[in-house]
């Protein structure tokens, strides 16, 4: 489903942009706390929870690049909340600050309906950087409230069937 191209859904897209802007403020507040105190792992966890909200809505309106950023940000946020390697957390906080800045620009491009502007943002380089960072946490099992790999709708349907539902 891609509501992004549907004029009747434009209002929802604008609402998403407005709501996301407010959530970006919250994300930056948590990062500001972490910049002062890298041991505040609860702020990394809260970062993961907030960016998860943006991810779900971004997927639903077909804003795939924003969703991908959020997916990686969520993974990094949750996993880094479980480590005590302060130098690595400081790197994480710096990269997440940059990520939120990039998300704001992508959000603005989405609001303006400006594909050219979105292309200029060179998000692929940034995704590569986020992916590299997420690899650092490979040994940590939990990536979200989830314990292992995620299921798609078909896998869930199969599992529900096998469980008798």
């Amino acid at each position: 489903m891609n509501m992004f191209d549907d004029p009747s859904m434009r209002e929802i897209v604008i609402d998403f942009c407005d709501e996301s802007d407010k959530l970006f403020d919250q994300l930056e507040n948590h990062l500001n706390i972490l910049e002062q105190n890298p041991r505040s792992s609860s702020d990394l966890e809260k970062f993961g929870q907030i960016i998860d909200r943006i991810m779900g809505a971004a997927k639903s309106i077909g804003a795939h690049e924003i969703a991908k950023f959020c997916e990686l940000g969520k993974l990094i946020g949750y996993k880094s909340s479980q480590i005590s390697d302060i130098p690595l957390i400081e790197v994480v906080v710096g990269v997440l600050f940059d990520s939120v800045l990039m998300l704001r620009k992508m959000n603005q491009a989405l609001r303006d309906g400006n594909d050219k502007c979105m292309n200029k943002l060179n998000t692929k380089v940034f995704v590569t950087r986020l992916t590299w960072l997420s690899e650092k946490f490979k040994e940590i099992e939990r990536s979200s409230c989830a314990i292992g790999g995620n299921l798609n709708q078909n896998s869930i349907d199969d599992l529900m069937k096998s469980l008798g539902l």
Binding site: A146, N150, L165
Partner: protein, 132 residues
């Protein structure tokens, strides 16, 4: 639509954009009586209030990840309430892991739907839950 259009539905999601999207979809497939809450913690008083009024919700769609009371906790509260043991409860999630699905099934979830989803997929889920 086989199900009654004015079936009392509660949509619970902490992202207002998602609530709007889901409400739009439910309207598209013919439902008219839709309430919303921005967290499990704000949904619960609505659910209790509706029971007291003698007009309980007939279907709940809830996000899993919410900051105060998450979807699983809300589901457990609902299932622990006399008369709501069988209330249709559809869990919405952006990412679902097998272990979590099993936990939710044990807690009595009616079905799962993964974001992003279309109005058609939502309708299919609803039809399945209500045994159509």
């Amino acid at each position: 639509m086989g199900l009654k259009a004015d079936m009392k539905i509660l949509v619970v999601d902490d992202m207002s954009t998602m609530r709007k999207i889901i409400k739009n979809m439910l309207t598209q497939v013919g439902f008219t009586n839709i309430s919303e809450a921005d967290d499990g913690a704000t949904a619960w008083p609505l659910i209790e209030g509706a029971i007291k009024e003698g007009k309980p919700f007939e279907f709940i769609l809830s996000d899993w990840n919410m900051p105060q009371l998450n979807g699983l906790e809300l589901l457990k509260k609902v299932r622990a309430t006399p008369g709501m043991e069988k209330l249709p409860f559809l869990m919405i999630t952006a990412e679902a892991e097998q272990g979590n699905v099993v936990i939710a099934v044990k807690a009595g979830v009616s079905n799962f739907i993964v974001k992003p989803f279309s109005a058609q997929v939502l309708k299919e889920k609803i039809d399945k839950i209500f045994g159509k």
